[in-house]
């Protein structure tokens, strides 16, 4: 009885904090959700259609299928012992659903159909406590397996096609996957997806993983202006450019997502890549109700950030955060310089083209034949150079600048993780305050869980891949510069004898 009282009291106390998370997660509630969460969703979103509550056994099964070599017996045992604490723990540590990576083999349904069952809660709790441990192990195993396969999965985004007409039109992209990984049903398959599908995938992944400290690769941004132009059917170069930009960005996004061993295992991702029909992720519409709610949340978050002063106990994190701030600033500066470069190079190519035409005219009007010929040659050379410059501009743009943009967004995602961490910390502090003397055992348990999460974040931040990625791209870019110079040499060498031949 005592427990129940505490449960209800604490639950209400923390429901304020939960509110925000809930809003975001409204449409993504999965099997094995907690009592508290369900309760709130029941209040705020009447869409939840109460369906049959998932049998408690299911979660355990889920785990077992994914972690190669599970120990269900162990779970039961632990559960029984820690039952008492487990429950309390659940109430105190907020966002417990986020803590648990949902490893159900079935993809998450778009709408939340879970009914609260107090009976289920304790069992799930026990699972949640031990879940991270098992999960970690399984993740390592997966990583090994993946490494062994050399991440044998290749994704291409191609063939942007306009579907529909007027304001309801959208661009559909073909996503082709080639893989030899066993988790997929086929070796090679392709599906048609639209931009909002990508955004939907991202939100799902973000809600599932971001809170436990993973860095989810950011999705490309929505652009109302750009899309409207395409919808309206303007067949000019800027809209084709926009589509091309987006296509490349989507490809990079998917490639980065599958590189992540954990995310690769996610059923949502699999469904995205495999199934031919995907439920419309309605909540990604920019002007929908959920979208606005998201904006409100973002604002609330920002305000929250300002009011929370976190005394960073972990010096490592403090340092890293500072580093990231600096890095972000520098990258932004670099990005703007590169964009200026792209712009100027485009200008240069346009001006060179204009000059080429002008020189050709001049050559025409010149009545000294050799000089006239030489001038026309010059015009040709300049024209070719102009083409070169254009290509260089593309290289500059796609290779360099977009990558920088991606990294800036990635850093924003990292910051998001930091923010979450801050929130966790804050909640942790609050929890500590309230449960101080009496709940030492629970506090210890919490503490045990927090470091896990923090460790996760640390590992993610040490992405060596990021570094390699950057290096390879810059090297590619430099090689393109080399090629340009070589071409330039060829052209001028061809021109020189002509110039010398002017009598």
């Amino acid at each position: 009885m005592e427990i129940a009282d505490r449960v209800s009291f604490l639950y209400i106390f923390f429901c304020f904090f939960e509110m925000k998370e809930c809003c975001n997660n409204s449409y993504i509630l999965t099997h094995g959700n907690w009592f508290s969460h369900n309760y709130l969703t029941f209040f705020f979103f009447k869409q939840s259609s109460p369906s049959s509550p998932e049998p408690a056994s299911l979660p355990a099964e889920d785990l077992s299928t994914n972690s190669n070599g599970p120990k269900p017996a162990e779970i039961m045992l632990d559960g029984d012992r820690e039952d008492l604490f487990a429950e309390a723990t659940e109430e105190v540590s907020l966002d417990s659903p986020e803590r648990d990576p949902i490893l159900s083999p079935e993809p998450t349904p778009a709408v939340t159909p879970v009914t609260p069952t107090a009976l289920i809660a304790p069992r799930m709790e026990s699972k949640s406590v031990t879940a991270p441990v098992i999960f970690d192990r399984s993740r390592e195993e997966i990583e090994e397996e993946a490494n062994g396969d050399m991440f044998d999965i290749e994704i291409n985004v191609s063939d942007p096609e306009k579907v529909g007409d007027g304001m309801n039109a959208y661009m559909a992209y073909r996503v082709t996957t080639k893989t030899s990984l066993s988790i997929f049903h086929k070796n090679e398959f392709s599906v048609k997806r639209r931009f909002s599908d990508f955004l939907g995938l991202h939100s799902k992944l973000a809600t599932k993983y971001m809170h436990i400290g993973y860095i989810v690769p950011p999705a490309p941004e929505k652009s109302i202006v750009g899309m409207t132009k395409v919808k309206v059917g303007k067949e000019d170069s800027s809209s084709t450019e926009f589509v091309e930009k987006r296509r490349a960005a989507l490809e990079r996004y998917l490639q980065r997502t599958v590189k992540h061993p954990t995310l690769l295992q996610d059923p949502d991702l699999r469904q995205f890549l495999e199934s031919s029909e995907l439920p419309r992720a309605v909540n990604t519409q920019a002007l929908s109700g959920a979208g606005i709610l998201r904006m409100v949340n973002k604002a609330a978050d920002a305000v929250n950030k300002m009011t929370i002063k976190m005394n960073e106990s972990d010096a490592w994190f403090e340092e890293k955060q500072q580093q990231f701030e600096n890095l972000d600033q520098q990258l932004r500066k670099l990005h703007s310089s590169v964009e200026a470069l792209v712009c100027h190079r485009k200008e240069l190519s346009a001006n060179t083209a204009a000059f080429a035409k002008s020189a050709a005219m001049l050559g025409n009007s010149e009545d000294h034949t050799a000089l006239s010929r030489a001038l026309s040659q010059l015009a040709e050379v300049e024209e070719k150079i102009d083409q070169l410059h254009q290509e260089q501009a593309f290289a500059d743009f796609y290779v360099f600048s977009e990558l920088l943009g991606d990294y800036i967004r990635l850093i924003a995602a990292v910051k998001g993780v930091f923010d979450h961490r801050m929130k966790c910390w804050q909640k942790w502090q609050d929890a500590q305050v309230t449960l101080q003397k009496k709940r030492e055992a629970e506090a210890k348990l919490q503490l045990a869980n927090k470091p896990d999460k923090l460790q996760q974040a640390k590992d993610e931040i040490k992405e060596k891949e990021r570094v390699k990625d950057f290096k390879t791209v810059i090297i590619e870019y430099l090689e393109s510069l080399v090629q340009t110079q070589q071409q330039l040499i060829k052209y001028w060498e061809a021109f020189l004898p002509e110039a010398k031949a002017i009598a």
Binding site: Q323, N326, L327, Q330, L331, K333, L334, S337, V338, A340, L341, H344, R345, E347, L348, N351, T352, A354, F355, S358, A359, M361, L362, S365, E366, D367, H368, A370, L371, A374, L375, L378, V467, K468, F470, K471, I474, I475, L478, E479, L481, V482, Q485, Q486, L488, I489, W492, E493, F495, L496, A499, K500, I502, A503
Partner: protein, 388 residues
């Protein structure tokens, strides 16, 4: 350092050059140095200091001299224009606080180099003007020219005041209107007719090409500037800490610095060899057009005089006067035509030679820079690839 070689014969009789130049706040002072074996001068070698306005005075005195109507008057050098560069330096000074020390010194160096380049260019253009005059068989004997070269006191040539500038403006308008009228007259001489059509077209096209070439070199310079900024950003990134990626960044930043220098040189050379060439010939073709205009004008005068003479003979009044006028016009016209023909032929030869020289040099420089750039990039890539 001659930006434009107009293929002049250097003969011992008269050699002129600008040996030194000083840039003060608002003006540039050129030291004109002369070496001559002509008897007109008091000494064999001497120098004077001249300013831009004095060059313009000399040029205008040629233009206004009727005797020189039949010659292409070498175009006046453009006014030294440091305004843009000075503005940039000022802006840089104001924005000093907002950028790092390295960036500031880099940009300062760049702007100073730009200033120096503009300075060199203006010196070269003034020198070319003088050399052209000195090489011209008739103009070199001009008294004003000798005064210009020798008189070591201030010529007291003040710049035109507002009233005079306005007068000039009107004169130009009248002239161009007249030019239109006069150009309607068909020329009897095929050579001149052809030259006229050619020159008009050529002049327009050179104008166009010159403008576009200017734009092109400026864009090129912008690209080089961007490289500079990228280099500094990379440098800033690289100095964050000393991990692998940061060393990588530092190397790439170095590369960008060097590449930028090369790109800046490319743009400067293009400017020098191509844009300046076109600009000069823009002015020269204008001068040639002016010559043709003067000739046409005298032709019209001649024809009018003929008509007047016929009228006078018909009325039998003032016949003698009309005859003398007609004779004068005829002489003038023939004199102009003769020298004009030679001038135009010379113009063509000069033009072809200048273009040839500059285009060859342009191609050679572009090759040199491209090869240098290539080498730089390749060696950097080798280092970077070797690291990973």
């Amino acid at each position: 350092l001659r930006a434009i070689n107009v293929d002049l014969q250097t003969d011992a009789a008269l050699q002129v050059d600008i040996s030194d130049a000083l840039s003060e706040r608002d003006k540039v002072k050129f030291t004109v140095h002369t070496k001559s074996s002509l008897p007109n001068f008091k000494q064999n070698e001497f120098s004077v200091v001249r300013q831009h306005e004095e060059f313009i005075w000399l040029h205008d005195s040629f233009v206004e001299n009727e005797d020189y109507a039949g010659y292409i008057i070498p175009p006046a050098p453009p006014r030294p224009d440091f305004d843009a560069s000075r503005e940039k330096l000022q802006k840089l000074g104001e924005g000093e606080g907002s950028m790092t020390k390295e960036e500031f010194t880099k940009m300062k160096q760049e702007l100073e180099a730009e200033y120096l380049a503009i300075f060199k260019k203006t010196v070269a253009m003034h020198e070319v003007f003088l050399c052209r005059v000195a090489a011209h068989p008739i103009l070199r004997k001009d008294l004003n020219f000798h005064v210009f070269l020798e008189y070591n006191q201030d010529l007291s040539v003040r710049g035109k005041n507002k009233k005079e500038k306005l007068e000039d403006f009107f004169k130009n308008m009248v002239k161009s209107a007249d030019g239109v009228i006069v150009s309607g007259v068909k020329d009897v001489d095929d050579f001149f007719e052809h030259e006229r059509t050619f020159l008009v077209e050529y002049h327009n096209r050179v104008k166009d090409a010159s403008a576009k070439s200017d734009k092109m070199t400026r864009s090129h310079k912008n690209v080089a500037d961007d490289y500079n900024r990228i280099g500094s950003s990379l440098y800033a990134l690289g100095t964050q800490d000393s991990t692998d990626i940061c060393k990588f960044f530092l190397k790439v930043s170095e590369l960008f610095d060097k590449t930028r220098k090369i790109e800046a040189r490319v743009s400067a050379d293009e400017d020098l060899k191509l844009s300046d060439l076109l600009k000069y010939y823009l002015r020269e073709s204008q001068a040639a057009k002016d010559l043709l205009y003067r000739r046409s004008r005298s032709l019209v005068d001649y024809e009018n005089a003929n008509k007047a003479l016929d009228k006078a003979r018909a009325k039998n009044k003032d016949v003698l006067q009309a005859e003398t006028t007609q004779q004068i016009c005829c002489q003038k016209f023939e004199k102009i035509s003769e020298s004009a023909k030679q001038e135009l032929i010379d113009f063509k030869t000069r033009r072809v030679a200048a273009f040839r020289k500059n285009l060859v040099e342009l191609a050679e420089l572009e090759l040199k820079h491209a090869k240098g750039n290539l080498q730089l990039l390749q060696s950097c890539l080798a280092v970077l690839n070797g690291d990973t």
